[in-house]
Amino acid sequence: MTPIDLQEEQPTDVDRGPVLEARDLRVWYGTDRGPVRAVDGVSFALRRGEILGLVGESGCGKSTLGRGLLGLLPDGAARDGELRFDGRDMLALKPREQHAMRGRDLGMIFQEPLTRLNPLMRISEHFSETLKTHDKTISRAEIERRSLEALRTMGIPPTRFRAYPHEFSGGMRQRLMIALTLVLRPAFVVADEPTTALDVLVEAQIIRILHDLRRDYDTSLLLITHNLGIIAEACDRVAVMYAGEIVEIGEAREVFTRPRHPYTRELLRSTISLRTTGLNYIDGAPPDLVEPPAGCRFHPRCPDAMNICASRHPVDRDHGAGTRAACWATDLVQGLVTLDDHEAAPLPREEISVADEA
């Protein structure tokens, strides 16, 4: 993969305000055991043309957050908090208005491209359906012009326009999905592990395409992945998610070179590369999101856990260089808080195992 130079273009129009802003956003699923707090009080803002990476373990709420931003949630799920797109309060909109924004303003690229296209419809029908939905008066010639343009950007020859989905390979289908999302020129796109189902060469190609989106389409992107390499290659900023919360968010380089949160640090240590000499992993499993641990949700697995971590939830603080994190231990090291001796004492082992069982 050719390294992508992050410095080549920076978002310029900060004055227009963030395209998407979430404040204390919560997405809960109702289950028989009680609500699953899949996304629990997440705050971030996304600038125009910015790519924000979202990493975390499986089941930490990444995909739920991505779908929650679009309102693509199953029955029995509820959103709360504040979510603004272009200054408009999304959660106050009627379902019909939200539906109309999907595709036109908010796009989504999915994980498994093979099954995301209707097998009975030609590619051309997918495009004309999508375009007609958002512009009732669009002409046939205009549909074809815009569709072919989107396909060309993705490197798909116009001769394939009337083909059926099963006639394409996995990588091509993901490019089709991207073209189908971008043909409407949404200002914000969620890409939910867009390369997980693809081989590495295709993966590099797709990441390059996503990285170039802001140049061609001025699109902001939330790139969900558990591949830290992709974040390093393609993202401006990165948010690290654990148990439904964003524990650290900042410039990708800064977070990767100087992680503030122990979870980010451990996650980076677990990455496998050619230089890896031993395998690192984080002990324990992600917590139950119906009854998450008290205090900091990471404390049962955290190597730096202190007594305070088990009782009081850490505060989301600015740690300089544009990075925010929520961790008592980092706060203490940076001198942002003063703790008494008991609070700052390492959390006894027994308590770790007890909390782990809970």
């Binding site: 679009l70 924004m101 036109r104 099954t115 296209l117 009975l120 359906e129 999508t130």
Partner: protein, 321 residues
């Protein structure tokens, strides 16, 4: 397939107690006379010889002549087949008109009272005996429309005035331009077709419902929603169309159920079709007639299966490759 069926029919008939001769004239003649008649029909020969001869004839599409009234089986099929054809086609129309929308509604509004009601309707219409459904419909219709025809394929007047050309009464009436006759025949079709159609619609409702539910979970359905496609269109163009692919296959296989249902429906409504004939010939232990008619039914099932495969290829582009 066909051969297995022919063999089973052949031996099953001969295992059943009674034979054509004793069924026709048993008790009236003495044992020697009966044996002489059996010998004349070739029924005294070893069974394997009769079996091979029968297979040989079927290969040449020669179904033979009936034992009891000496009619060529092909003539029976020609003369009565038309009534069975219009009955089953009409039943399919009713089944689709009832089954597809109800199945789709039940699938879309899954686990609601509406869904429960439709499912109960589906199970009842599938499980209820045809003659009972038929009689209930007759009672109901006679109460609401006192003059509505409740048996036979057309009134006596219609049957006399329509010139037979194609062996399909409805088609003959249309060809002769006799509007009264067409209307009369169509009216006669309503109750039997509805009765048989209800049986089929039970199967279709359950099938469509399950497949719609399955298709609604499909990745492409979520992707379509993410593009802002209106929910109604998502259901219609994405979920429902994909749900229909397996439904077509299974509906095609239901042709066997339809034909067996047609036999009972014809008895209930005194319908002049193949089913009525078949029941009469079974009673008469007429080996040749029963073998011939069942073989014909089997051929129809095979032809329909081929048509279903072709239809599937038309609907699903993946099958064409």
């Amino acid at each position: 397939m066909m051969w297995v069926l022919l063999t089973i029919v052949f031996f099953l008939l001969r295992v059943a107690p009674g034979d054509p001769v004793s069924a026709a004239v048993g008790g009236k003649l003495n044992e020697q006379a009966l044996d002489a008649r059996r010998a004349a029909l070739g029924l005294d020969r070893p069974m394997i010889v009769q079996y091979l001869e029968y297979l040989g004839n079927v290969v040449h599409l020669d179904f033979g002549k009936t034992i009891s009234d000496n009619r060529p089986v092909l003539d029976i099929i020609k003369d009565q087949g038309g009534a069975t054809l219009t009955l089953t086609l009409g039943a399919f129309v009713f089944a689709l008109v009832i089954g597809l929308p109800l199945g789709r509604l039940a699938g879309r509004y899954r686990d609601t009272p509406l869904d429960a009601g439709i499912r109960i309707f589906g199970v009842v219409s599938y499980a209820a005996p045809i003659f009972w459904v038929g009689i209930m419909l007759v009672l109901l219709v006679v109460k609401v429309f006192p003059g509505w025809p409740t048996n036979d394929i057309g009134s006596v007047v219609t049957k006399f005035t329509v010139q037979p050309k194609t062996h399909v009464l409805l088609l003959d009436a249309m060809l002769s331009g006799n509007q009264d006759a067409v209307l009369d025949i169509l009216k006669h079709h309503v109750l039997p077709c509805l009765t048989l159609g209800l049986l089929l619609s039970g199967v279709i409702i359950r099938l469509v419902r399950v497949n719609v539910i399955q298709a609604m979970k499909g990745d492409y359905v979520e992707a379509a929603r993410a593009r802002g496609i209106p929910e109604g269109r998502v259901i219609r163009k994405h979920a429902f169309r994909n749900a229909l692919v397996p439904v077509i296959t299974v509906i095609g296989l239901q042709i066997a159920l339809t034909l067996s249902g047609a036999v009972l429906t014809e008895r209930t409504f005194n319908w002049p079709g193949l089913g009525t004939e078949l029941v009469q010939y079974v009673t008469a232990r007429d080996y040749i007639a029963v073998q011939g008619l069942v073989t014909f039914f089997a051929i129809i099932v095979v032809i329909v299966s081929v048509l279903v495969d072709i239809l599937n290829a038309l609907v699903d582009p993946r099958v064409r490759y």
